[in-house]
């Protein structure tokens, strides 16, 4: 009666295949789902020449996955993470610094315009008042830009701190899944869903930092940073943390078992590396440069005022001028209680209406100064050059982001080509395996009628 048992094995195999198809269709829109199928093999015949074989068996549930493609996808995620994380900061800086009315250039223009206007009538009180007012406005331009930059610095650090617990949760999750997967494989259970869950966690982690993955024989995946430090080995996760050093610099570190490693803020890659790169190579040099410019302008203007002579009162000769600008703790302001009589627009020893020192003040705009990010520049041109360099950096990041995005899309596409579900394909599977099931049922019915015929002969 091998016909009936053959037909039974066929119908069971068809049911398993229909089961796989139904699971695939159910997960048509599930992110990260890897399609499955059944591997059918025919069972050979026993002893004798009359038996064609003993039916079919489901020798394995297939998981359609290509490790090379998943690795590609994760590598692309790190690059994309680094570029995407930085761009909003760059755009905000550009918008504020590049705006014609809120720019530092505009503030500096205003101050020197007021000086120039005073040259027409250097003893006029309203014109002198305008110098003080526009110096205050210039200070506000400096301060509002430096506020934006300091807020960004704070925000970069907060964002880095916020990534830490996410990454640690992912690492712990991967380690736990490693353990479950290796014990389930040993017990012969289908682990496809567990592997999908673990790959999703790894994908998230890969966008946060550059990682490399090694597969182990027991089904677990070991993860380390591209720079070598271990993150997950088997069922043991590492812990990452971000702390402030004694000098106020943020320090990234990873602790595995009892060993602790300090990480390079930029080389760590992914979103963390992007943040580090922006902080170290754009934001901090820019903050320093604006401070350089503000400091240099303050020093030069004050020194020139002190070298000159105030207007004095009738009968009382003028005195050396008072410093107008104050630059302290990253903030520019004008000196307290500064009045028009404190401005020294005359040359030292000059008459009350002399404007020799005013001409020298006006000339400060054309003096060169050292600004750390762009080198030696004219005071009037420094901000223009800083914004220019910022624009070039941002443009470069946008180009790299575009490339990274294309590479990632391509990698995801490649992965889907192998692992994604195609509903038409599953529709065909449904039809074909349903046919296979019905055919096997027919075989049982044929076997049954053969059996009935034999019994009737007996009757």
């Amino acid at each position: 009666m091998s016909i009936i048992s053959n037909a039974l094995s066929g119908s069971i195999a068809a049911q398993a295949a229909l089961g796989a198809a139904s699971q695939n269709i159910a997960n048509l829109q599930t992110p990260g789902y890897t399609r499955q199928g059944v591997l059918l093999t025919s069972l050979g015949a026993g002893v004798g020449v009359r038996s064609a074989g003993n039916g079919v068996q489901v020798s394995a549930l297939l998981r359609f996955a290509d490790d090379y493609k998943t690795q590609q996808m994760w590598r692309a995620a790190s690059d994309l993470g680094a570029r995407t994380q930085t761009q909003p900061y760059l755009t905000q800086l550009e918008r504020v610094m590049g705006d014609n009315s809120s720019s530092i250039s505009n503030g500096i223009d205003g101050f020197f315009t007021a000086l120039n206007a005073a040259a027409v009538d250097p003893t006029s009180t309203p014109l002198r008042q305008q110098i003080i007012t526009s110096a205050d406005a210039m200070a506000q331009h400096f301060n509002s830009i430096s506020n934006v930059m300091n807020n960004q610095l704070l925000s970069v650090r907060q964002q880095r701190d916020a990534i830490m617990p996410q990454a640690n949760t992912a690492l712990a999750g991967i380690a736990a899944l490693n353990q479950t997967i290796s014990s389930s494989i040993a017990a012969g259970t289908n682990v496809s869903a567990l592997i999908d869950a673990r790959d999703q966690l790894i994908d998230g982690l890969a966008s946060q930092m550059s990682i490399s993955i090694t597969d182990q024989a027991d089904g677990s995946r070991n993860i380390s940073l591209k720079t070598g430090q271990p993150l997950v080995i088997g069922s043991i996760p590492a812990t990452m943390s971000s702390n402030m050093s004694s000098t106020g610099e943020p320090v990234l570190s990873v602790k595995f078992a009892n060993a602790s490693f300090t990480l390079d803020k930029v080389a760590v890659g992914g979103q963390l590396g992007g943040l580090g790169d922006f902080e170290q190579n754009t934001l901090q040099p820019l903050i320093q440069s604006v401070a350089d410019l503000a400091q240099s302008l303050t020093t030069k203007v004050n020194a020139q005022l002190q070298a000159g002579q105030t207007i004095g009162t009738p009968g009382v000769p003028g005195t050396p001028g008072k410093p107008l600008l104050v630059y302290a703790n990253g903030k520019m302001s004008i000196a307290d209680n500064y009045t028009t009589a404190d401005l020294a627009l005359a040359n030292s020893g000059g008459a009350a209406g002399d404007s020799g020192n005013l001409q020298k003040l006006i000339d400060i705009k054309n003096q060169s100064t050292n600004v750390s990010w762009v080198g030696s520049v004219l005071i009037g041109d420094a901000d223009t050059q800083l914004v220019g360099k910022l624009g070039i950096n941002s443009q470069q990041n946008q180009a790299l982001q575009k490339t990274a995005s294309t590479v990632r899309d391509q990698a995801v596409n490649d992965w889907k080509a192998t692992s994604g579900v195609n509903k038409d394909e599953e529709a065909m599977n449904l039809v074909e395996f349903q046919n296979m099931y019905q055919a096997n049922m027919k075989v049982i019915s044929v076997a049954n009628s053969l059996f009935d015929a034999t019994l009737q002969m007996m009757g």
């Binding site: 610094m97 223009d109 404007s355 624009g391 070039i392 596409n413 692992s419």
Partner: protein
């Protein structure tokens, strides 16, 4: 190649995203009229724009300075002219006084008129601006231009105590113009007229007296010198006004060419942007249609 159902969805999604991104950018460019939304859209162009803006700020300041200097020079010119007028009237009187047929009383009443003219010129020379600063004492604006000492001998009572320094205003790149004028030399005229007034007031004064006649003649010479001095200064103002007008025109031209360069750099090419915009709109519509058609295809529909 095998294509998963999700790939097609992703393809439609990303092509819609890309089109929308471009349409957003183009709409922003058209709405603002500005080609560059952020410095990174064209970093080099942005640096050029920024530098042109800096130069425009300077040019408009120079133009403001020129306008103000011109007003100040005109004011100075008016005051100097009024001094010249006073001197001209004094000259008429001096010519009349030198005529020997005048009686002592005539000369005395002429001297009264001369006193008025002398004091008027002194008043103008020591003119103050609205803030109480002396206008014609060079840069020594805290003291009067000409000091009067009643105790000194006639002929040396008036002294110029200002200086001859200029208040320089920058009216162009490397071009300066003095905005003030001093009245050094006017004190000589005042002293001479003062001597004439003293001589005419002497009891029994007559122009036939050679000494008196000499004083009047010296007064006439001094008046000619004073009028020459002031007329020369007024002529210089006229020249300066012309130079400033020319300079202002030049700066207007610079400003105009800067503006047109700024427009070229900043403005959206509306024609090109509109064509691009309709191109992307067409692509969007095509994508919608493709999705509506292909997205509906399913083997399940025919089973």
């Amino acid at each position: 190649m095998r294509v998963a159902t999700g790939q097609y969805q992703q393809l439609i999604n990303s092509s819609l995203q890309q089109n929308q991104d471009r349409i957003n950018q183009l709409t922003l460019q058209l709405a603002s009229g500005s080609r560059i939304q952020l410095p990174s859209d064209d970093p080099i162009g942005n640096v050029r724009i920024s530098r042109l803006n800096r130069e425009q700020a300077m040019v408009s300041q120079y133009k403001d300075n020129i306008a103000t200097v011109k007003v100040r020079l005109l004011k100075n010119e008016n005051y100097l002219s009024s001094m010249v007028t006073d001197m001209g009237q004094a000259r008429d009187l001096l010519v009349w006084a030198s005529d020997g047929s005048n009686t002592t009383d005539d000369l005395k009443s002429m001297s009264q008129s001369l006193v008025a003219m002398r004091d008027s010129v002194l008043y103008t020379a020591n003119m103050k601006d609205q803030e109480g600063r002396y206008m014609f004492s060079g840069t020594a604006t805290d003291q009067p231009a000409i000091q009067y000492d009643p105790n000194a001998a006639s002929g040396s009572r008036y002294t110029y105590i200002g200086n001859t320094d200029s208040q320089v205003v920058v009216v162009g790149n490397g071009i300066t113009q003095a905005a003030n004028v001093d009245v050094k030399g006017v004190q000589d005229w005042l002293n001479k007229i003062d001597q004439v007034i003293t001589a005419l007031n002497v009891p029994g004064a007559t122009a036939n007296d050679p000494a008196t006649h000499a004083v009047i003649a010296a007064g006439l010479d001094g008046t000619d010198d004073g009028m020459d001095l002031l007329s020369n200064k007024i002529a210089i103002f006229g020249g300066a006004q012309n130079i400033l007008t020319t300079l202002d025109n030049n700066l207007s031209n610079v400003s105009l060419s800067n503006n047109s360069a700024l427009n070229d750099l900043q403005q959206t090419d509306v024609a090109a942007a509109s064509i691009d915009l309709s191109g992307y709109q067409l692509a969007m519509q095509a994508t919608y249609k493709a999705y509506a058609k292909v997205g509906n295809l399913s083997l399940f529909d025919v089973l």
